[in-house]
Subunit: 404 residues, 2 copies
């Protein structure tokens, strides 16, 4: 008789966004006259930029023509996209990343869930708290996290690194030595990040203790301060200890287009074994490439027109971020993030819990956000608003919050 | 110090297609005047059909317009595609598969590699021999296959079910009881399949011994005989023992477009645990949906125009299959497959090994095929030719083989 992977049974329900959806639906049913503004989910709203739309149409036409049709893509992704990435995301920033260290995928969520597969199940992981839930959940499924304690909402074998206002959202080196360290910078959900010298300390630490940093740089395009690294490979020694995950979702609005990539440097080794070769094997066995038309769309992100159009999109969202941040400050809130990231992280007022504040905001301002506790125990007492909405609605939402 | 997943180190090199590529390159360098015809790789060559190209263009335009832009897709895939599949692939064949039993993915290769994750590492797998290598390789990576014996090219903990001319390519129930049974029907590489009553026996067997059948129906569109099931759910009792993997690669030429789906019936359970819920959790945690534009392309596959155009494409490839099969027979070869599948499986002449015949064919007819031994030990002494080439070249290749 077959048996299941028991680790799945250990996962607590992941009801954050469905609970939010349910509460919002109930509210709207009870108050059909109220216009609810959603600043909760991290999904983009601007349409795909014209330069990318043109590239998509062109690639679609190629697929309809026998002379230019493309079947299976190369395992690692098309050379035209990988070399464009190597040039623009790395060489232009002084990082030497070669084309065969770049693996094109269908998105950073898949990569952040799958990357743990090439490591031993006995490895200990360390995560920032609060954080994007996929890092922990994918390790739970693999059996790497021990026993769940419902009261503290923590796993016995996960090393948590609290990031709160008290430590300026800068994780401290943990007491126990981790094998894998997940860093999402700029951070989802707090919208905060580390200056480059602090990141360098993490790289030095990882090299010293023999840990691998899984560096999720999905929000890199939102960095506005010059002392923040766009890639971990801007730090010395990162190529012997870090894997970088990148996304096209937030810099180019590809949440529904699906494209990402992962960098696994050839110098990153366990003894004689190259992690680059292991990831290539994983990619070649369990994945069959991102769509040709989508890879052409990715290439257009780096064209002159594409760059100019996407700079405007990022500026649009960052104007929203400033609107939210300034508006909340004026209303007397303690606010973080929003400078190098499209997320604003606020301290709930008057000691309210994250969910109490959610209800309060929904009922009184008809604004939807995300309770910080949904991202980890240290998120309790915080709340996330996103800058991905429409500008007019964002302004309106803040007017309502200020009027409370 | 971090450690790797040791199971990856157990994988023998996967050099089949790279060895073929190298040999062909060397031959062409030595004989620049010879025109080599490739009937080796299972990739399609016809361009995407017009009805699908139109749907792609339309969806691209929607993504470029704020009013119709789509961000993150629903975890399971868009309702418009899932309901179309439920209607056309299942209801029309008398199978009751509901919309929430269908999971849209980026292709059957990903699904066939990932599906093992929801099962215990202690489960024993059974595979046909020869077979598509992803089934075994993904289980090697998960640590489910024991020790590799290089001499016999087999794993100690894998149950092999030889499919050869002697048993009419019909696998026999194994002596040891498996937990997971991989069946690819119509089969890659042999091009053969089972009649529905034989498949029913496998369903009954799986229900009796408590095994799950992972049913890969990627070549379903090529079935021409009425006594062959297009879906395993045409068999009674399959919903309590079978997961079905489906692809758009071969029926609609989506090898470079990337789309597939997996059916996990809600009745399929281990005790009280629903495998449907487990796969939903895996999908929701480690995948973020197939591209919207590609899901619209998938929908167009089932439109009236799409169906008519794709029927022609399949007929084109099956004309190639007939050309190869008839041509080989006339030349005195013993030939299998090619009736319900785009693959022709031939017995090598004069006791040649698969690789000896590869060299013989390349040197004397300048035709490239795939050595059967590359798909498993029982493939030794066989050779695969594919019907996915261009018709004129296929005819020419057969003329050359007949002239040998």
């Amino acid at each position: 008789m077959f048996q299941i992977n028991d680790n799945y049974q250990k996962l607590p329900g992941s009801y954050l966004f469905s609970t939010i959806g349910k509460k919002v639906n109930e509210f709207q049913k009870a108050h059909p006259d109220k216009e609810v503004i959603r600043l909760g989910i991290g999904d983009v709203t601007l349409p795909i930029a014209p330069a990318i739309i043109d590239a998509l149409h062109k690639a679609v036409d190629e697929m309809g023509n026998a002379a230019t049709f493309r079947g299976y893509a190369p395992d690692l992704g098309y050379e035209f996209l990988r070399s464009t990435i190597a040039e623009n995301d790395y060489k232009a920033r002084g990082c030497e990343i070669s084309v065969d260290e770049i693996f094109i995928s269908d998105g950073a969520k898949s990569d952040s869930g799958n990357i743990q597969e090439i490591f031993s199940v006995n490895n200990r992981i360390a995560v920032c708290d609060p954080v994007y839930p996929v890092y922990v959940d994918s390790n739970v499924m693999a059996g790497r996290t021990g026993v769940y304690d419902a009261a503290s909402e923590t796993w016995s074998d996960v090393i948590y690194m609290p990031c709160t206002a008290e430590n300026g959202f800068v994780p401290e080196f943990p007491k126990e030595t981790p094998d894998l360290i997940y860093l999402c910078l700029p951070n989802n959900p707090t919208g905060t990040t580390l200056p480059k010298d602090k990141l360098q300390e993490w790289v030095d630490y990882a090299n010293r203790v023999g840990a691998v940093i899984i560096y999720d740089a999905a929000y890199e395009a939102y960095i506005s301060e010059s002392n923040v690294a766009h890639s971990i490979y801007e730090c010395e020694g990162a190529k012997t200890c870090a894997i970088e995950l990148r996304s096209f979702s937030k810099n180019a609005g590809f949440t529904g287009v699906r494209l990402g990539f992962t960098v696994v440097p050839k110098e990153l080794k366990c003894g004689e074994v190259s992690l680059n070769a292991m990831w290539a094997r994983r990619h070649g066995t369990k994945f069959n490439g991102a769509p040709y038309i989508v890879q052409r769309a990715g290439e257009a992100v780096y064209s002159q027109e594409g760059k100019a159009q996407l700079k405007e999109q990022v500026a649009y969202y960052m104007k929203n971020a400033k609107t939210i941040k300034d508006g909340l400050k004026e209303a007397g809130y303690t606010v973080f993030g929003g400078v190098n990231a499209p997320y604003i992280w606020l301290k709930t007022p008057n000691g309210m819990s994250s969910w109490e504040f959610f209800d309060y905001l929904l009922e009184n301002a008809n604004v939807v956000g995300t309770p910080g506790s949904g991202f980890g125990p240290s998120g309790e007492g915080y709340f996330r608003l996103t800058a991905f909405g429409n500008y007019e609605n964002t302004v309106k939402a803040l007017e309502r919050i200020q009027a409370l």
